[in-house]
């Protein structure tokens, strides 16, 4: 009998000499992850020569080029949402943070915010990273269509035909594309055209076939080898025969009936969203007070509402909904939904009622994320959950070395840098802002110097950590340790000193809280939030004390005026818009105080009270009557928070004690076993050789 003959090493395993065909199989499992592939090829010569160098980092198959009839070339590029993690633990870093970002690759890599897709700073981030030092876990993969010279998706840069109404025009995602691998077809949902659907072939020249213009869909996902599309009433259709023409309703399979009625009615329907996880299809619906999640029961053809996401977190972006298991998210609790603002636009005409504005007010850009807990239907800012907010910002220190930081500290001026809340910013522009700021103080002819409060007001716990982080990064170069900045007061003190480095940090912090400062200009160099714009747009503005104020706030303001007189007579504000904002904020503060007991005050509300009070004081509103109330509210809130921390610590302690107990029991058991086995083995044998008496 003839068996295959090959040199086969029987004794020591020699991994560096694996046959080529085996290495090839192994490489195939690694080639869709650039860091894994890179490290595999860096192990030894044999492994390196078994596979070609990777031309693309994210995916070997993309970007891919397609010719259009006009001769322009179109590119299908890939992007992933992924979790970056360090491979080796830095000794100083006991709890290495994971970082979730979105990366797209078109000649070079581009890092974006995972939910909003905003680019993460051009100036402050490293120009390159060493992919041998970290790993990434892909949680979602997708494709986008680009012309080489454009940053916009292909079908939105063409512009919608005039005859058709543009739709959801504020939504950052204009199109959504799905590549069907085995068919070689890309399906595109044109969101800005009300959700029209069409396809084109990847091979050959670009020809876009739109299905009929009456069949409109809210969302599409890849499902069971085809595409599942959902229409506005919530019926899901499975389109398998993607290249057919005409009305998709006529040739696709209906998966579900309409969405069941909810217990609350909504004036305006919002866009419905789909997600696929573990082969199951989900529909996510937003009503103003909560998120509602349904799972498809395919047998019954019905949506079944689910009340818990289990150990999963749902990340909602502007074009996708992604479930991630918490085991990949280092200490984060599941059963919640993370979302950027306005990610569920309304279907009808006119301006959306944006319920997210109040929630996300005051959050800095990378952390402008809401968290909805399925368990108790509560909304919070992501910064209320330190472990979740760390997933997004700041970037983990292990990703690049200290030298990159010093570079980004002195990078060029860039409008975006400030508005994106990036780490880096040009120091002179920062100084200018400081100058504007202090000049404004002088113009106001204040007796008491408000600057300590201005330094203090925006400094929340996370900011302190952020400063610490930047400070550490800055000093890594010298190998010196840095005195940790522990409290807001210390930061204020630092502001007072002439220490240039510290001052830069603090002022950066201010920039982040004044996103529209530059646009507003010298006219009103004071914190301005997006609510100004909304208030000005609103038709419901009425006059109060000759200042336009939304009518809903007038009763509250009237009461204040009745009791305390004209508290704004000495104000130093030049812009009407700002006054509107100020008065409305004042009313909001009073309402927050009225509506809450000390216990029910949320972290975001407490922060709002604290920072708004400081803002209004800077405008020289007379608020001596309000201050004691806010101080009391904050004091109660703080003690409540500390109680919670205490409880947390106690739970942890009891857990550890239980573990200790278990361990002790195990040790006792083990001791017994050791003793037994000693007795069983003949003691005489122990003393002599093991083979004694064998022959």
């Amino acid at each position: 009998m003839e068996l295959r003959s090959r040199k086969f090493r029987r004794k020591n395993a020699d991994w560096s000499n694996l046959p080529d065909e085996l290495l090839e199989i192994i490489v195939n499992f690694l080639k869709y992850n650039g860091t894994d592939y890179g490290r595999f090829r860096a192990v030894c010569k044999k492994w390196r020569n078994s596979s070609p160098p990777l031309s693309n980092f994210l995916n070997v198959d993309f970007p891919r080029e397609i010719l259009t009839y006009s001769g322009r070339s179109l590119h299908i590029i890939s992007y992933v949402v992924c979790i970056l993690y360090p491979l080796t633990q830095n000794h100083n870093d006991k709890n290495p943070r994971h970082w979730i970002i979105s990366m797209e690759e078109f000649r070079k890599l581009k890092m974006c915010h995972p939910l909003t897709d905003d680019p993460i700073g051009a100036n402050n981030s490293p120009k390159s990273i060493n992919s041998l030092d970290f790993g990434y876990r892909i949680v979602d993969f997708g494709v986008k269509l680009r012309f080489a010279e454009s940053v916009n998706d292909v079908f939105c840069s063409e512009g919608p035909p005039k005859c058709r109404m543009s739709h959801w025009k504020d939504n950052p995602a204009k199109t959504k594309s799905i590549l069907l691998k085995n068919e070689g077809v890309v399906m595109v949902l044109l969101l800005q055209l009300k959700g029209a659907l069409g396809t084109f072939r990847v091979n050959g020249k670009l020809k876009f076939n739109e299905y009929c213009s009456d069949c409109l869909f809210d969302d599409i996902v890849e499902y069971k080898g085809g595409v599942c599309a959902i229409n506005p009433p919530g019926a899901a259709w499975l389109i398998k025969d993607v290249e057919r023409e005409g009305c998709p309703f006529s040739f696709s399979q209906k998966l579900s009936k309409f969405m069941p009625k909810l217990e609350f009615t909504e004036e305006r329907q919002k866009r419905k969203r789909l997600a696929v996880h573990d082969g199951e299809l989900y529909m996510i619906v937003r009503v103003s007070c909560k998120f509602v999640v349904f799972k498809l029961n395919e047998e019954l053809g019905e949506w079944e509402r689910i009340y818990s996401l289990g150990d999963k977190i749902l990340f909602v972006t502007y074009d996708k909904c992604i479930f991630v298991e918490t085991c990949y998210l280092l200490g984060c609790k599941g059963n919640c939904i993370l979302f950027p603002k306005h990610c569920f636009p309304s279907v009808g005409r006119g301006r959306d009622h944006y319920e997210d504005d109040a929630l996300l007010q005051g959050a800095k850009k990378p952390l402008e994320i809401g968290v909805f807990r399925m368990g108790d239907d509560s909304y919070q800012l992501v910064s209320s959950y330190p472990e979740l907010s760390k997933l997004f910002w700041p970037p983990p220190s292990w990703l690049w070395s200290g030298s990159c930081y010093s570079r980004c500290m002195s990078s060029e001026e860039d409008e975006k840098t400030a508005s994106c809340g990036d780490i880096g910013s040009e120091s002179s522009s920062v100084n200018q802002i400081i100058t504007n700021f202090s000049q404004h103080m002088k113009n106001g002819k204040v007796a008491e110097d408000p600057s300590p409060s201005s330094g203090q007001k925006h400094t929340t716990v996370e900011d302190t950590e952020y400063l610490k982080f930047v400070a550490e990064a800055q000093f890594e170069n010298n190998g010196n340790s840095v005195p940790a900045i522990n409290s807001p007061h210390e930061i204020t003190d630092n502001l007072a000193t002439e220490n240039n480095f510290q001052r830069t940090d603090v002022s950066l912090d201010l920039v982040q809280h004044m996103p529209s400062l530059k646009q507003v200009g010298v006219d009103s160099p004071l914190p301005v939030t997006s609510s100004i714009k909304i208030a000005l747009d609103s038709e419901a503005l009425e006059k109060f004390q000759e200042i336009g104020v939304s009518s809903e706030w007038i009763p509250v303001l009237q009461k204040i005026w009745d009791k305390h007189g004209n508290i704004i007579e000495r104000h130093v504000v030049h812009s009407d818009g700002l006054l509107t904002w100020a008065l409305e904020s004042l009313a909001k503060m009073v309402i927050i105080l009225q509506e809450n007991t000390g216990d029910s005050l949320k972290i975001s509300q407490a922060e709002y009270l604290n920072s708004t009070l400081a803002d209004l004081q800077m405008m020289h509103f007379r608020l001596d009557w309000l201050v004691p109330f806010i101080e009391r509210a904050l004091a109660i809130h703080k003690s409540q928070w500390q109680k919670n921390v205490m409880m947390d610590l106690e739970t942890r302690k009891s857990k550890l004690l239980a573990e200790l107990h278990e361990l002790e029991e195990q040790m006792v058991q083990q001791e017994k076993l050791v003793a037994e086995s000693l007795i069983n083995s003949a003691l005489s044998v122990l003393a002599k050789g093991l083979a004694e008496g064998l022959f």
Binding site: A13, N28, F29, A42, K45
Partner: protein
């Protein structure tokens, strides 16, 4: 003739490199393309004797493992709906071994042409690379760094990914 002989052959005997004999059910043996090929050849010849297949490259402890795998997969050969349980079993199966055993098992799977086991081993190897640094990979697989300084520099360059 051929049909009668094939029905009579329900078992084969496999001999390991260290001369241990294993009696293997034909269904189990046919999980390995190499064994299956041998059985088919013998049946065509119409032999009624017990078939003995010597495997000169597989030691008995590794052969035991391969046969354990084949036995499990033969049980599930007819119903593909039970995939989930089998996957779970596969996953647990490889976890038990050290890297030297894994190496021998991979080579044996390749030699005996047990494709699914080979894939499983390779995937396992790929997965175990995933969370390790290059240094750690060399350590667990006991591989010497044989690059010249110039090559090292090339590798470093190759893995520095530029951002827009």
């Amino acid at each position: 003739m051929a049909s009668s002989s094939s029905s009579s052959l329900s078992r084969v005997v496999v001999k390991s490199s260290d001369n241990n004999l294993f009696v293997v059910n034909k269904k189990v043996a046919s999980q390995s393309q190499l064994l299956k090929q041998c059985i088919d050849n013998m049946e065509e010849k119409g032999t009624n004797d017990v078939i003995l297949i010597p495997l000169s490259n597989v030691t008995s402890n590794i052969l035991t493992l391969v046969l354990e795998y084949c036995e499990k997969h033969a049980d599930f050969a007819d119903d593909d709906n039970n995939n989930q349980e089998l996957k779970q079993w596969d996953h647990e199966f490889l976890k038990k071994f050290d890297y030297a055993t894994l190496n021998s098992l991979t080579m044996a799977a390749d030699y005996m042409v047990t494709k699914s086991l080979l894939n499983l081993c390779c995937q396992f190897i790929a997965d175990s690379i995933k969370d390790l640094t290059v240094q750690q990979i060399r350590q667990i697989f006991d591989i010497k760094n044989d690059f010249t300084p110039q090559e090292e520099a090339d590798i470093k360059n190759e893995n520095a990914w530029a951002f827009r």
